[in-house]
């Protein structure tokens, strides 16, 4: 493969086909987007197989000038005539043209070519379909090809899927080609017409919104909408990389039931852990095993069917991961209130940006209304700038996390860490435990003088 062609091909290598288990479609489908982790070998273009010896066509390389378009079309038609067997030219005008306007939808029959769906890189589906119109010949036994537009990552072919069309697909821009070949599935007959039934979807997802992933490895995870396109969104997610022993296992796909824990991507240590370096790209992102990482977060594409705008709950662990990434967009973003945090109207809070105390008036999705002391009145404060006001001597109860329902007195407060002397028994305090709890997990119920058992002693440890 020439260097120029290789560069052109690599423009597709950073894209990842999304997962599509839409209810309208049946068949096995790809329910785990990890399936594409190793579908491209960036290190060994030669292993692309037959496709590596032939030049793929790219629509981006085609000239688009009005004066050149006619020449281009003429060349295409000449090639089709000279290649023999192709029939780009179409029909003669019908003797009764009005017949065309009274066509009735006719359902498919068992004699028709079957319908297949073929994996395609996100955002390239239409290019693939256009290319097939240009290149299809009678030997390919391809009668039509289509993309639904709303569901990305697949193109649909009306074909016998013979060897000729298989070879053509390997040359078609956008079609996913693994070492084992093209990824395709046959659609059940009773579902054929459903593939051509369009549904209106929520396609207005604003940049800066938090959404929930509905499918694949990141199902249930909350992601930040970095960009919204016609076909879907680009999300920032907390990465879930498979452990090194699973990542380096044989290519034979085995479904893993254990989803890796989220952790930030560290360019400096990844090679030590996985034995493979990440590639730094010009836009300061890193590419590793077919994924793109930006400031430690995963940048991933999803079509609109694969995300949800409702039930967006962010665990505290995810909240802190995003904060620790120091991604410039994330640092400036507003966050939903983490799942385990417990704030109520009337809670005394500290606005960390201004170091001012206030009382919560109302709870919002991404902010809280806080009545600040003094003349500042009521302001909206993002959750990232709020914490509970806990002082030494407060009797507190842990509301979530591993120490949930533990109670005790606050012995010391260090920024967001509260040191608590745990009360184990109402009879004695001799076996108290000392532990630290993040301040926002706690409910400050009262000072120690309001503790229920007046016979207990309060002993400070350490």
């Amino acid at each position: 493969m020439s260097e120029e062609t290789h560069r052109a091909l690599r423009s597709f290598l950073d894209l990842e086909a999304g997962v599509d288990d839409d209810d309208d479609e049946v068949g096995g489908g790809r329910s785990d987007d990890e399936e594409f982790d190793d579908f491209i070998d960036n290190d060994n273009p030669a292993e692309l197989g037959e496709a590596s010896t032939q030049q793929r066509l790219s629509w981006t390389q085609l000239p688009y000038r009005e004066d050149g378009f006619t020449q281009l079309l003429t060349e295409i038609l000449e090639r089709s005539v000279n290649s023999g067997g192709r029939n780009l030219a179409l029909r003669e005008p019908t003797e009764h043209p009005d017949d065309a306007f009274i066509q009735v939808s006719m359902p498919p029959t068992s004699h028709d070519f079957p319908l297949w769906r073929v994996a395609c890189r996100l955002g390239i589906e239409e290019e693939a379909v256009f290319s097939l119109l240009q290149l299809a010949a009678p030997r390919h036994e391809l009668r039509s090809a289509f993309t639904r537009g709303s569901i990305c990552g697949w193109v649909y072919l009306e074909t016998t899927m013979n060897e000729h069309i298989n070879r053509l697909l390997k040359l078609t821009p956008g079609i996913v080609s693994r070492r084992t070949g093209i990824i395709w599935e046959q659609i059940d007959f009773e579902d054929w017409t459903k593939m051509l039934t369009m549904h209106d979807i929520e396609a207005n997802v604003d940049v800066g919104r938090w959404v929930r992933v509905r499918k694949g490895t990141y199902k249930g995870d909350v992601g930040y909408v970095l960009a919204s396109e016609l076909w879907g969104v680009r999300l920032l997610l907390a990465p879930r990389l498979s452990p090194p022993n699973l990542a380096s296992s044989s290519l034979k796909r085995k479904r893993s039931t254990v989803v890796p824990e989220p952790a930030l991507f560290d360019f400096n240590t990844i090679e030590h852990i996985y034995g493979t370096p990440a590639v730094k790209q010009n836009d300061r992102t890193h590419r590793f095993r077919g994924n793109i990482f930006s400031d430690g977060l995963l940048l991933k594409k999803y079509d609109f069917h694969s995300i949800s705008l409702t039930s967006v709950f962010m665990p505290t662990s995810t909240f802190f991961l995003f904060q620790q990434s120091h991604h410039p967009t994330i640092l400036a973003a507003r966050f939903p209130c983490p799942l385990e945090w417990s704030f109520d109207e009337g809670d005394q809070v500290l606005n960390s940006s201004s170091s001012k105390l206030g009382v919560i008036i109302s709870i919002g999705a991404e902010t809280a209304e806080v009545d600040l002391a003094g003349d500042e009145g009521i302001i909206n404060v993002p959750w990232t700038e709020l914490c509970k006001h806990i002082v030494v001597g407060d009797f507190v109860e842990v509301l979530s996390g591993p120490l949930r329902e533990s109670t005790g007195w606050v012995e010391r407060v260090d920024d967001e860490i509260v040191h608590v002397v745990q009360h184990l028994s109402s009879e004695t305090l001799e076996e108290n435990q000392h532990y630290r709890i993040k301040v926002d997990y706690m409910l400050a119920s009262a000072t120690w003088t309001n503790f229920t058992s007046r016979n207990s002693k309060f002993i400070l440890i350490g």
């Binding site: 085609l62 179409l90 006719m106 239409e126 256009f130 009668r143 289509f146 639904r148 709303s150 009306e158």
Partner: protein, 121 residues
């Protein structure tokens, strides 16, 4: 008479692509202007007529179909394009043809059927 040919757009994702409201074929405006609609020209008369192109085509369409063998394709039969030329078609087109075009069809004893999937057989 030369056979009708559907122009193949050079760029799949050109924002200028438009779909005919009557037959759903997809072309660039320049193709509609030069050649008209390869399926409906005697009714819509878009050739060299930008106003007709604007009123009889739209950018609001979903899904793209390459109809390669319209005679034999069940997809083309289902989409009511099996008697049209080979080319690119939209799965769904939002909008209606102008009233005068609809009237012309009625004059010919034909009923207009929108291609927005609200009128299914």
């Amino acid at each position: 008479m030369e056979p009708a040919i559907a122009a193949i757009p050079a760029q799949a994702r050109s924002k200028q692509l438009r779909a005919c409201l009557l037959c759903s074929i997809i072309q660039l405006p320049v193709d509609f202007r030069k050649n008209g609609c390869p399926n409906c020209e005697d009714v819509v008369q878009m050739k060299h007529n930008p106003d007709r192109i604007s009123s009889c085509t739209t950018t609001y369409f979903d899904g793209v179909i390459s109809v390669i063998d319209p005679d034999k394709s069940w997809v083309a039969r289902w989409q009511r394009t099996s008697k049209y030329v080979r080319g690119m078609y939209a799965v769904r087109v939002k909008g209606r043809i102008p009233e005068d075009v609809e009237a012309e069809l009625e004059n010919r004893g034909l009923k207009y059927r929108p291609r927005d999937q609200t009128d299914q057989d």
